[in-house]
Symmetry: C2
Subunit: 333 residues, 2 copies
Amino acid sequence: MVTMRDVAVRAGVTKQTVSNVVRGRVVVSEGTRARVEAAIAELGYTPNLIARSLATGTTMTVGLIVPTVGNPFYSEVVEEVEAQLERRGYHLLMATTRGDEKRARRHLSSLSSRSVDALLVADDFDLSEDLRLLGECGLPVVLCAWEIDPPDTLPVVTIDYERAGYLAGRHLRDLGHQRLLTVADLPAHRVRVQGVRRAFAEDGLGVPDTSVLAAPGTTPEDGYEVTLAALRAGARPTAVVASTDALALGVMASVRRYGLRVPEDISVVGIDDIPQAAHAHPPLTTVALPKRRMAQEATALLLRTLTGGGPAPPGVTLLDPGVQVRASSAPVR
Amino acid sequence: MVTMRDVAVRAGVTKQTVSNVVRGRVVVSEGTRARVEAAIAELGYTPNLIARSLATGTTMTVGLIVPTVGNPFYSEVVEEVEAQLERRGYHLLMATTRGDEKRARRHLSSLSSRSVDALLVADDFDLSEDLRLLGECGLPVVLCAWEIDPPDTLPVVTIDYERAGYLAGRHLRDLGHQRLLTVADLPAHRVRVQGVRRAFAEDGLGVPDTSVLAAPGTTPEDGYEVTLAALRAGARPTAVVASTDALALGVMASVRRYGLRVPEDISVVGIDDIPQAAHAHPPLTTVALPKRRMAQEATALLLRTLTGGGPAPPGVTLLDPGVQVRASSAPVR
DNA sequence: GTGAAAGCGCTAACAT
DNA sequence: ATGTTAGCGCTTTCAC
């Protein structure tokens, strides 16, 4: 392995001068710079990032914790975070929790051992035990995609999920729907359902608990099974809100399977706006969650801290979702 | 920051003893071990991974280069790689190329500067210039998802994409189809098209160049636009092979849009078997690419090298795709 | 079983 | 503008 020493010897200077040339932060005379650069090229020297990290105390790496990447919501978040980090020359160390709090904690503590300069957590699990640890090691942390009550000691950039539910409900109310079915991954998406209820409550309408179906997960199959069972059991909604687009896709399939049409017989609305929502049949009306913007702002916050902007203030930044009207919803008949 | 020194002082031993306790690789007497562990707990000590890396020359981190994660194929690959790495206690440093060779090269050289122990490259770009660099720095590298001619100096775990195309063609031939349209992201998926042609050629049938449509990209829209234009221009295929499922989804939409039915009028076959293929309407017949297995084997190869198994031998491991018959393909009428 | 010494490759502060 | 000195926090080798 060729080190800075080798280059220095070859160029007839000291390590320090080589360092100065490499980093370009200090003025070096034209002649020496040329000699050093020649030596670097001839020897094929590349600086050892680990050694630099140990000396500077900075790794130029940001840790990202997500539940999974096999889900369009999070894969877009990851993509956006990576893009933002790359622009500033940072690397991305990624870890997935797969819904397992133990794994999440393991990653938290392992990443906080100086191997990353900052941490972005895009998964809402109970952090209360870990907050002390995080606070102590002084690692900048930003939370995002936080749906349940986030800790108020950390900066959080997330989406107004309650409002997403509200907008879904509002849209259907505007179309005149009264008999609603809600399919949700509970308890994770509890606040989305709350939002839906608020929209209906505004018009004096209730959504009985029996009309809120808990899906076992968040795949199209889950939406399909749960909805088909409800329809077969005699449910007669004019509209369905699903707490995610993936569920909504399954809901649409089950409606069709049951022999009804979307949206003529039953309107279906999702939440998220994943790429495939636009290509569904019919194209899915949904409440778009601004995930890329969320990822962008969260990363910006983190980066600002790292580039001397001082610690990010704790507190929640709530981004607004917006209805994306497509063909799966129509006025009630 | 609490260091090993602090713990040593507190426990009345030397750094070395603390190190021995932490790593558990050397026998330490019961008494001292207890004292050291107590000191660690009281002080809240966590070892500095960077310092350890500098001393050992190993980072317990593997670099992964992929084109993107916003594509089900690669997001599954990433997921699988991450899962395998985590099982062995390795971290994942991920970088995306977004189809840009320059960016790919930048990542290659940046990651090879001792910040990762090994590199997994899941994107087929021209590596010829970089091979020397990679060889010199002695970083174990494994290639996967390599569709165009891989360098023969490195180990490669990939899928037989030509055979995938062949199987798609074979399936349609078995159903009696003769007038075929092929929609492909060219030149990237050239070998898939070759495979399709081979299947038809086996039966003495040719696929004219005019029946091979180059999609500008790989999204459903791309498939939609290209196919609709062809249909409107008078193309009358009884079957379409798309080089990816995403394209196939668009193809199906365009067929429907044109007023024809899938599969009654036109059969549609994709390649990949992404999760949504099964939920398409109709469910998409496709050639399943064993991406998880690919990711698993590539990671296993890398890890074996890292855990003292000696360097992985160069050469290509080709995994077999398999037809997944669903409702989008039917016998020709 | 434990300690002392040396060094991983680099950067930062100061001296020249 | 360049050289000197002193670490960063850990592991490794070799004494004891």
